[in-house]
C-alpha cells in the first residue's frame, strides 16, 4: 500500500480509537457515579488511546520512507551479476538509475542484458516486500497500541498529564524545526563547500581575480580555464548593493523623517501604505522592470550624452534594488524615530531650535543605533537579493568599480551554476555552494549584529 494511503488509514484508526477510549471511560464511569469519579475528562482517555494507536505507526512510517530507498538500492547493487558491477560513483549512479527505471516500468525491457533485468526484478520484489512489510507493521503496531491504551483505562488512570505531555513535546518539536532548518542550511552548504575546497584551494577562491567556472571537458579545450577566483563576484555584489544603498538610504530615511515628524495625518495615512506597496511587490517584477524598462532607458540616456552605458549595467539593477529597499528602510527608521521620547523633542524645541535642527541634532542621534541596525539589515537584503540581478545584471565577471559597466554578483552565479540539470560532483556546481556559504556567513553576521543593535536600542527607551 502507498505511504499516503497508510497515513490516511492511520488517521481513521486514530479517530476510531478516540471514540473507543472515550466510550470505555464513560462505561467505567457509569457504575461509579458519573464522570466526576474519573481522574480525567473522558475525551482525554480517548486522546490517550488515539495517540497510542497512531503515533508509533506514524513514526515508523516516517523512518521507513526515509530509509527504505537507500537500503533497497544497496541490497540490489550489492547483489548484481559480476558483469555489471559498478566501478566508480558515476557508473554506480547510472546503473542505479537504469535499474530503478526498469523496475518502475519507465524503461522498456527489450534489448537489455539479463543481469540488468535480474537486478530490476530483484528491486521490484524488494520494493513489494518493503511495502507489504510496512503495511503489516503499521497495522500490527496500531492495533497493539490501541489495545494497550484501551486496557490501561481505569478510573484512577491519569490520562490528562500523559496526553498533555505529548502535546507539549509536539509543540517543542515544532519550535525545533527552526533549529533544524538552520542546521540543514549550515550542513548542506558547508558539506558541499568542503568538497569544493578539496579541488580548488580556499585561498584561490577567496582571493582569486579570475572567475570563469566553465571547466574543460577535454584537455585541449580553449576558453574553459575553470578558474574560481571569486573576487570579481564580491566586487560586483558590493557595487550593486552600494548603488542600491545610495538610492534607498537617503530616500527611505528622509521619507520616514518627513512622514513621522512633518506630515499631516491625512498625508501619512495615504503615503505610508502607498510606500509599503513597494515592499509587497515580488522581486521578479522588479527584475522585469529593471531589465526591460530601466536598463534600456539608462542606455539611451547615456547614448544621448555620449556615455556608453552597458545594457546590463550595475546602475539599472542597483537602482531598482534601491527602490525595492526604500520601504524596508523607511518602515524600520519610522519605528525607531517614533520610539524617541517626545520629551527630548520638547526640550530641544523649548531651547529655540527649529524643527529640522531638533531632528538633526536630537532625534537622529538618539535614533542612530536603530537606524544603523536597519541599514545593516537592508544591506544584507541587498547582498542576498537574487531575481533583480539575475534578470538585469550581467553574467560576465568583470572586475570593475564603474556602475555603468556590466557586473555579475554572487547570487547570479549561484543561479546560473545550479539551474537546469547538472552533475552534482563537478567543481562547477559545488562552487555554487561555496558561494552560498560566503553569502550565508556574511548575511548572518550582518543580521546578528544588526538585530543585536536594534534590540539594545529598543531597551534603551522602554
Amino acid at each position: 500500500m502507498q505511504a499516503t494511503n497508510i497515513l490516511i488509514l492511520l488517521i481513521g484508526f486514530g479517530t476510531v480509537a478516540f471514540y473507543l477510549g472515550r466510550g470505555r471511560s464513560l462505561a467505567i464511569a457509569g457504575p461509579l457515579g458519573g464522570i466526576r469519579k474519573l481522574h480525567s475528562l473522558p475525551s482525554y482517555y480517548g486522546m490517550h488511546v488515539a495517540l497510542w494507536c497512531a503515533l508509533p505507526s506514524v513514526a515508523i512510517l516516517g523512518l521507513w520512507m526515509i530509509f527504505d530507498d537507500p537500503i533497497i538500492n544497496s541490497l540490489v547493487i550489492g547483489s548484481v551479476a559480476a558483469d555489471i558491477i559498478p566501478i566508480d560513483t558515476a557508473s554506480y549512479n547510472l546503473l542505479l538509475n537504469k535499474v530503478s527505471n526498469l523496475a518502475d516500468g519507465i524503461l522498456p525491457r527489450t534489448g537489455l542484458s539479463d543481469s540488468l533485468l535480474d537486478a530490476a526484478d530483484h528491486m521490484q520484489s524488494l520494493q513489494l516486500i518493503s511495502q507489504w512489510a510496512l503495511t503489516a507493521l503499521s497495522f500490527v503496531l496500531s492495533t497493539m497500541g490501541l489495545f494497550w491504551g484501551w486496557s490501561k483505562i481505569s478510573a484512577e488512570f491519569r490520562a490528562r498529564p500523559v496526553v498533555e505531555r505529548v502535546i507539549q513535546n509536539l509543540l517543542l518539536a515544532s519550535a525545533c524545526v527552526a533549529i533544524f532548518t538552520t542546521l540543514g542550511i549550515v550542513l548542506s552548504v558547508l558539506f558541499e563547500s568542503i568538497q569544493f575546497f578539496r579541488s580548488v584551494p580556499i585561498y584561490d577562491f577567496v582571493f582569486g581575480l579570475d572567475w570563469s567556472p566553465q571547466t574543460a571537458i577535454r584537455e585541449d579545450q580553449v576558453g574553459s580555464s575553470g578558474s574560481f577566483g571569486a573576487v570579481p563576484l564580491f566586487v560586483g555584489t558590493l557595487l550593486v548593493s552600494a548603488v542600491a544603498m545610495v538610492i534607498a538610504v537617503p530616500v527611505g530615511l528622509m521619507s520616514a523623517i518627513y512622514l513621522a515628524e512633518y506630515a499631516s495625518k491625512n498625508v501619512r495615512n495615504f503615503a505610508k501604505p502607498a510606500l509599503e506597496v513597494l515592499a509587497g511587490i515580488p522581486t521578479v517584477v522588479y527584475g522585469f522592470f529593471a531589465a526591460l524598462t530601466v536598463a534600456p532607458f539608462l542606455r539611451d540616456l547615456g547614448n544621448s550624452f555620449g556615455v556608453s552605458v552597458s545594457s546590463e549595467s550595475a546602475l539599472a539593477a542597483g537602482g531598482v534594488m534601491g527602490i525595492m529597499i526604500i520601504p524596508f528602510i523607511s518602515s524600520l527608521a519610522d519605528d525607531v524615530i517614533t520610539a524617541v521620547p517626545q520629551s527630548m523633542r520638547d526640550g530641544s524645541l523649548a531651547m529655540g531650535a527649529t524643527q529640522s535642527e531638533t531632528i538633526r541634532r536630537v532625534v537622529i542621534p538618539a535614533a542612530l543605533p536603530g537606524i544603523v541596525g536597519g541599514i545593516m539589515l537592508a544591506v544584507s537584503r541587498a547582498i542576498g537579493e537574487t531575481m533583480i540581478v539575475v534578470m538585469a545584471a550581467g553574467m560576465a565577471a568583470n572586475l570593475t568599480a564603474n556602475p555603468l559597466d556590466s557586473v555579475t554578483t554572487v547570487t547570479v552565479q549561484i543561479v546560473t551554476l545550479l539551474t537546469g540539470d547538472q552533475e552534482f560532483d563537478s567543481p562547477k556546481t559545488l562552487a555554487a555552494f561555496a558561494l552560498g556559504l560566503m553569502l550565508f556567513m556574511v548575511t548572518l553576521m550582518l543580521n546578528i549584529f544588526a538585530l543585536h543593535i536594534v534590540k539594545k536600542y529598543r531597551e534603551q527607551y522602554e
Binding site: Q168, L170, L171, S174, A175, A178, I179, T181, G184, S188, V189, F191, E192, P250, V251, L253, M254, S255, Y258, L259, A263, A271, A274, L275, L278, G280, I281, P282, T283, V284, V285, G287, F288, F289, A291, L292, T293, I326, P327, T354, S356, E357, R381, G384, E385, T386, V390, M391, I414, V415, L418, A432, F433, G436, L439, F440, T443, L444, N447, L451
Partner: protein, 426 residues
C-alpha cells in the same frame, strides 16, 4: 552695546539662514516621499501599459471546410487516425481559398504564417467537441500568429511595428481589416492554457495551478508548525539558553536570503532524501521553511496580545495549562495568526529564487493536477517569459505580472480587512 543685545542681533542674523535650512529640509522630505510614490506609480503604469494588450488576441475569420478527404479521417473516435490526421491542412486550405491569387512557395509560406501554428489542432479540438461538423463548412474565428498580433495591435494604436512582417502580409492584413475579418477578441487562451514556445498559444493556467498546489502544501505545513512553535515559545518555553537559541535562530532565519533556502532544498530534499525535482512537493517544503519564521513571529505577536487576565481566569477555574492555551488563548489569537499566515502566503506566492534551484524552472506544457506532477509557479513563469526573445512575450509577461499582483493585492487587502474586522481591543 550690552552682551544681551549683541546675542539678539546674532540670533536675528542667523534666523533667516536657519529658517531657510528648515524649509530646505522639509522639501528634501517631500522630495523623498515623492520619489517613493513616483516609483510606485511608474512601476504600475509601466506594467499595465505593457501588459493590458495581452488580454486581447488577434483573430482572423475564415471559412473552414472540415473535409474528410483532406484531413484523411473517417472516424472521429479512432485515436490513431486522429493523431495521424493532416490537421494543419485545414487552416492552410481555408487561407488559400480566401486568397486565391497567392502563388509561389515563399508567398504561400507567408500566407500560412498569418495563423498560429496551433490553428490546425484548435480546429481538431473543435471538431472532436462538435462531431456533426465533419464534412461541413463553417465560418470561424481562428487565432492569428504572434507577429501578426503584435503588428495588428500596434497598427490599431497608430504606431505600426512591422519589423517581422513582409509587405505582402501587411497588405493581406489591411485587406482583411477592410472586410472586417480580423479583430481583437478576449484572449481566453491566456487563462486556459499552459506554457508554450509560441507566444499566442501560451497561457498561465499551468503556472497558476502550480502556484496553487505549492501554496496549499506550504499552508498545510507551515501554519500548524508555525502556530505550534509560537505557542511553545510564548506559553511553555522555560527561560533558558535553549529557548534563547531557538529565538535567535528564528529571527535570523527571517533575514536569511531566500536563495539560501533553495540551496538547502537542493542539497537536503533532492540530493539526500531523493524527493523528485520540479514537483510542488519540494517547492512546498522549501517555501514552508522560508515562510515559517514570518508565521512564527506574527503568531507570537498575536498570542502576546491576549491579555493575561484571560489566562489567569482559566487557570483559576481549574484548567490545566494546555487547556488554558487550547481553549482560550488560541481561539482569541487566531485572527492575528490568520493575518500572519496570509502575509506569509503572499510572500511565498511571490518568491522565485529558491524555486529556480529545485528545478521548478522547467518548460512544462501540461497543467499539473497533483502534488507530484512537474510544475512551475507564476513568478517563475514570469521569469521564463521575460527571458524569451519573442517580442510578443513582453506583453504576456506584463499580463502575467498583472495577474500575480492582483492575487497579491487581494491577499494583502484581505489580511488588512481581517485584522480590522476581527481585531479585539482589550
Amino acid at each position: 552695546m550690552s552682551k544681551q543685545t549683541e546675542n539678539l542681533i546674532k540670533i536675528q542674523h542667523s534666523l533667516k539662514r536657519r529658517n531657510r535650512s528648515e524649509a530646505r529640509f522639509r522639501w528634501y522630505g517631500r522630495l523623498a516621499v515623492f520619489i517613493g510614490l513616483a516609483a510606485v506609480a511608474t512601476l504600475f503604469f509601466d506594467i499595465i501599459g505593457k501588459g493590458h494588450g495581452a488580454f486581447k488576441a488577434t483573430y482572423i475569420k475564415l471559412e473552414v471546410h472540415y473535409d474528410q478527404a483532406l484531413i484523411d479521417i473517417d472516424n472521429l473516435t479512432d485515436t490513431e487516425q486522429m493523431i495521424a490526421g493532416n490537421w494543419q491542412a485545414l487552416p492552410k486550405v481555408a487561407l488559400r481559398e480566401k486568397f486565391p491569387n497567392v502563388s509561389g512557395r515563399s508567398d504561400k509560406r507567408r500566407l500560412n504564417n498569418l495563423l498560429s501554428s496551433g490553428a490546425g489542432f484548435d480546429l481538431k479540438d473543435r471538431l472532436v467537441a462538435n462531431p456533426h461538423l465533419l464534412g461541413r463548412k463553417e465560418s470561424i474565428w481562428i487565432l492569428a500568429d504572434d507577429d501578426i498580433d503584435t503588428y495588428f495591435k500596434s497598427w490599431l494604436a497608430g504606431d505600426a511595428y512591422a519589423a517581422r512582417l513582409s509587405s505582402k502580409q501587411v497588405q493581406w492584413i489591411e485587406g482583411l481589416h477592410q472586410q472586417g475579418l480580423i479583430e481583437l477578441q478576449f484572449n481566453i487562451n491566456l487563462f486556459t492554457r499552459g506554457d508554450s514556445r509560441e507566444p499566442e498559444q501560451a497561457g498561465i493556467r499551468g503556472a497558476v495551478m502550480g502556484s496553487l498546489l505549492t501554496l496549499v502544501l506550504t499552508l498545510m505545513l507551515s501554519f500548524p508548525i508555525g502556530v505550534a512553535a509560537a505557542i511553545y515559545l510564548e506559553e511553555f518555553a522555560p527561560k533558558n539558553k535553549w529557548t534563547d537559541f531557538i529565538e535567535v535562530n528564528i529571527n535570523n532565519l527571517a533575514a536569511v536570503p531566500s536563495i539560501i533556502f533553495g540551496l538547502l532544498g537542493l542539497a537536503i530534499f533532492i540530493n539526500f532524501f531523493h524527493v523528485p525535482r520540479s514537483v510542488p512537493i519540494v517547492g512546498g517544503l522549501v517555501l514552508t521553511l522560508m515562510t515559517l519564521p514570518t508565521i512564527i513571529i506574527t503568531s507570537r505577536a498575536a498570542i502576546k496580545s491576549v491579555p493575561p487576565s484571560i489566562r489567569e481566569a482559566a487557570l483559576g477555574m481549574g484548567a490545566s495549562k494546555v487547556q488554558m492555551v487550547l481553549h482560550h488563548v488560541l481561539p482569541l489569537a487566531l485572527p492575528g495568526m490568520l493575518t500572519g499566515a496570509i502575509i506569509g502566503m503572499a510572500q511565498a506566492l511571490g518568491e522565485t529564487a529558491p524555486l529556480l534551484m529545485i528545478g521548478m524552472v522547467a518548460f512544462i506544457v501540461d497543467i499539473p493536477g497533483s502534488f507530484t506532477d512537474p510544475a512551475t509557479v507564476l513568478p517563475v513563469q514570469i521569469f521564463l517569459w521575460a527571458d524569451s526573445p519573442e517580442r510578443a512575450f513582453i506583453e504576456k509577461t506584463s499580463a502575467a505580472i498583472m495577474v500575480l499582483l492582483t492575487f497579491l493585492i487581494i491577499m494583502n487587502t484581505s489580511a488588512v480587512w481581517l485584522r480590522k474586522r476581527l481585531e479585539r481591543r482589550w
